[in-house]
């Protein structure tokens, strides 16, 4: 089971380097070979010389492949609410990765209480990457869209900043760059990467994208990797496998959600989220937050 997490990583590396290999000249073999797993599941050997750090593709190339997504994938996230103790490492990692200001959250850990006498709990809330996304429907310029691998992405080179998608999203998952983004001078001139939505752009939208750039590299999303408490599981629904970001354990997705009676957020709205929650039962940590009663 554990091999799956590793193989996912290797496949991603190969995917990234194959672009480069296609244009690399044939060089003398050193005999120093490493094994790589292709996306079709084949194990191949590649000479080390031929492995070079991939250069960033051009903007148009990046936008094009960013719209297509990773072929054959169907990403899902499972969030185990019983494990969250509001460490907020996910939020920090996310803000670093996506160059967000402190008040901008792609991932926001909320303090929740469902009804008056029920137990409060912490709920990490990323974009739900709905299969029936209300946000992409309303975009007038197709700047936000749903990819074949399930991720809802944004093209900030196209967004006109009408903020209709913010109004449409029932999960408050989207943020706007009301001012010049964080470290704007530092990233000036850097080619835009649609799969991480960086550098951020003033007057446009941003939101969680399941770290699509890291997925392409075969890594888990930033928040998933950063969590110290084993809250997050992430993986591919087509493979029926999800990997825990803390323990690196890989399990069957269907079994995990079935055994733990997983649910999706506000399923009555018909948005069909790709983020599943495991109920906050037998919580590993006591709730120490402050609950704001305004929503009860």
């Amino acid at each position: 089971m554990k091999t799956l997490g590793a193989s996912m990583g290797v496949a991603g590396v190969l995917g990234g380097s194959s672009l480069l290999n296609s244009c690399a000249k044939v060089e003398t073999n050193t005999g120093d070979k490493i094994k790589l797993l292709t996306s079709s599941g084949e194990l191949v050997e590649v000479d080390k010389v031929q492995l070079k750090p991939a250069e960033m593709p051009s903007l148009t190339e990046n936008q094009k492949r960013g719209r297509l997504g990773l072929p054959g994938r169907s990403w899902v996230m499972v969030i185990d609410l019983s494990k969250c103790r509001n460490a907020r490492e996910c939020m920090k990692a996310c803000q670093n990765h996506h160059q967000l200001r402190p008040e901008q959250h792609h991932m926001n850990v909320l303090q929740m209480q469902d009804a008056e006498h029920t137990a409060p709990y912490y709920m990490p809330k990323p974009c739900q990457h709905c299969d029936n996304p209300p946000c992409t429907k309303v975009c007038p310029v197709n700047a936000t869209f749903k990819r074949d691998d399930g991720i809802v992405l944004i093209d900030n080179e196209r967004c006109i900043g009408c903020r209709f998608c913010i109004a449409a999203c029932p999960y408050s998952a989207r943020v706007f760059n009301w001012f010049e983004p964080r470290d704007a001078e530092k990233y000036e001139g850097v080619t835009y990467n649609i799969e991480a939505n960086v550098p951020q752009k003033r007057g446009t939208i941003s939101k969680c994208l399941f770290s699509a750039d890291r997925l392409r590299d075969g890594k888990l999303p930033s928040c998933v990797s950063a969590c110290p408490n084993g809250v997050y599981w992430f993986g591919d629904r087509n493979e029926d496998a999800v990997t825990n970001g803390t323990t690196k354990e890989t399990v069957r997705f269907s079994e995990l959600i079935e055994k733990n009676a997983a649910y999706t957020l506000m399923e009555e709205l018909g948005t069909k989220p790709r983020v599943y929650y495991l109920p906050p039962k037998d919580r590993a940590f006591p709730f120490q937050g402050h609950i704001d009663t305004h929503h009860i």
Partner: protein
């Protein structure tokens, strides 16, 4: 229509008087006019400056943030679209129903419609985070988005409104071209000459005008209903409490008639007073407009009861939070004031003939207009302040919206710009259709194209 006047001398005399009265707004030049334009342009300049600040700093200069991401601009946009709908009601719907008293009012209605719908378009651009990417709407337009529907119908409505303003104006333009050479500067006469398209007043020319107008009046019905229905869908297409209702389309249309009727009454009153048009915007017009206002207010009241009573009866969780905020929360003061001054009061007062006289009804209409504006504010903002999930880990002011001074400056810009458009139209073209009015008075059309004797 009045009896036909047989005597040529009498016809000419009456036509001279009508022309004199109805072009007074064009000929009259005084300090007050200059002062009026000076004030308007100054405020517009301040507003534009505000927009430049917003453009260079980012939309962060407004009170909007990630949760309340639509604010005063969008409320203002809805208000302008609403006001513009009156053009459709008066110059098309009432015309087609052969309601004759409304004829002299139709050009005022078109003025208001053109100004309002043009500014609605400008406001939307000012609300965009990236107005420099405006063309993306055409380059990458995605027809599944209600915004694209809105852009389509609003542009169409503007074009039809311009035509509905322009086409009945052609005989008037020719009349001014022929008669007013002595009183007006040459560029103005030249403008009329060009715009009159060589009008000669032939029977077949009139036939074309009647024909074109009829087509436009029919065309504007679906377009007019669409502009505000589609605007309501910008809200109704979302899942949020307070917006997520099937009634929003007709609710918006009904509210639009209230705002627009009030706007036309105010403009009518100003013209009557300023250009001495007592005999043209008669007491009876105010009386009828008052009755019309009561009628549209009653329709709107009906929709309001549906909009608030039905969810208020059930108090579903999210709806309940929203409604409690309106009924007795932070917005209760504004909510009840707007419902009373914008709906209940005009219905009650305007039932009495006394309040349908020009001055009282103009004051009431002004109050109704202001209430209509705040009503849009209440439709847009409270809903966004209470999303489904709690607002946490953000600064305090993210939860509660209040507009900034830059935002107010830019909003004032939209108002003065609309007034500039209306004032310019009134300064350049008669505010009542001369030829139509003359014909109503029994003057034969052949006198309209006669050159004056002197």
């Amino acid at each position: 229509m009045m009896e036909k006047i047989e005597s040529p001398a009498e016809s000419r005399k009456l036509l001279d008087k009508i022309t004199f009265d109805l072009t007074r707004s064009i000929v009259k030049k005084d300090e007050l006019t200059r002062f009026w334009f000076f004030i308007l342009i100054m405020f517009a300049g301040v507003g534009l400056w505000g927009w430049i600040i917003q453009f260079s700093t980012g939309l962060g200069v407004t009170g909007m943030r990630d949760y309340v991401s639509w604010g005063m601009y969008i409320a203002n946009f809805v208000f302008f679209v609403a006001v513009s709908l009156i053009g459709f009601l008066i110059s098309s719907a009432l015309h087609l129903l052969k309601i004759n008293w409304a004829k002299p009012v139709s050009r005022v209605a078109e003025q208001v419609a053109i100004a309002a719908v043009a500014l609605a378009g400008v406001i939307i651009v000012m609300d965009m985070g990236r107005p420099d990417r405006f063309l993306n709407i055409f380059l990458h337009g995605r027809f599944a988005s209600p915004i694209i529907w809105d852009v389509t119908v609003i542009t169409t409505y503007l074009v039809i409104s311009l035509l509905l303003f322009y086409i009945p104006l052609i005989p008037d333009l020719a009349l001014m071209r022929d008669r007013m050479g002595n009183e007006l500067p040459r560029w103005q006469i030249k403008l009329y000459t060009v715009l009159a398209l060589g009008w000669k007043g032939k029977a077949e020319q009139y036939k074309i005008i009647y024909h074109a107008l009829r087509i436009l009046m029919l065309l504007i019905i679906p377009v007019g209903l669409s502009i505000h229905t589609v605007t309501s869908w910008l809200f109704a297409a979302t899942l949020r409490s307070g917006w997520d209702t099937a009634i929003l389309g007709p609710y918006f249309v009904a509210g639009a008639f209230v705002a627009g009727t009030a706007a036309v009454i105010v403009v009518m009153y100003v013209y009557r007073l300023r250009y001495n048009l007592k005999d043209y915007f008669e007491d009876l017009h105010f009386d009828y407009m008052g009755k019309l206002l009561v009628f549209v207010c009653l329709v709107y009241l009906y929709f309001n009861i549906n909009e608030y009573l039905v969810p208020g009866y059930k108090m579903k969780l999210a709806d309940g939070i929203h409604l409690r905020e309106l009924f007795k929360g932070n917005y209760s003061g504004m909510f009840w004031l707007v419902q009373i001054t914008g709906l209940v009061l005009p219905i009650v007062l305007l039932l009495f003939r006394y309040f349908r006289r020009p001055l009282p009804i103009a004051v009431i209409s002004l109050v109704v207009m202001i209430s209509s504006w705040f009503k849009r504010y209440i439709i847009v903002i409270p809903t966004l302040e209470h999303p489904f999930l709690p607002v946490q880990n953000v600064p305090e002011h993210f939860q509660n919206y209040s507009p900034t001074s830059t935002e107010i400056m830019i909003t004032i810009f939209s108002f003065v710009s609309a007034l500039i458009i209306i004032s310019l139209l009134a300064k350049l073209f008669p505010v009542i259709t001369i030829w139509e009015y003359a014909e109503e008075q029994g003057i034969d059309k052949k006198y309209l194209t006669e050159k004056p004797k002197n």
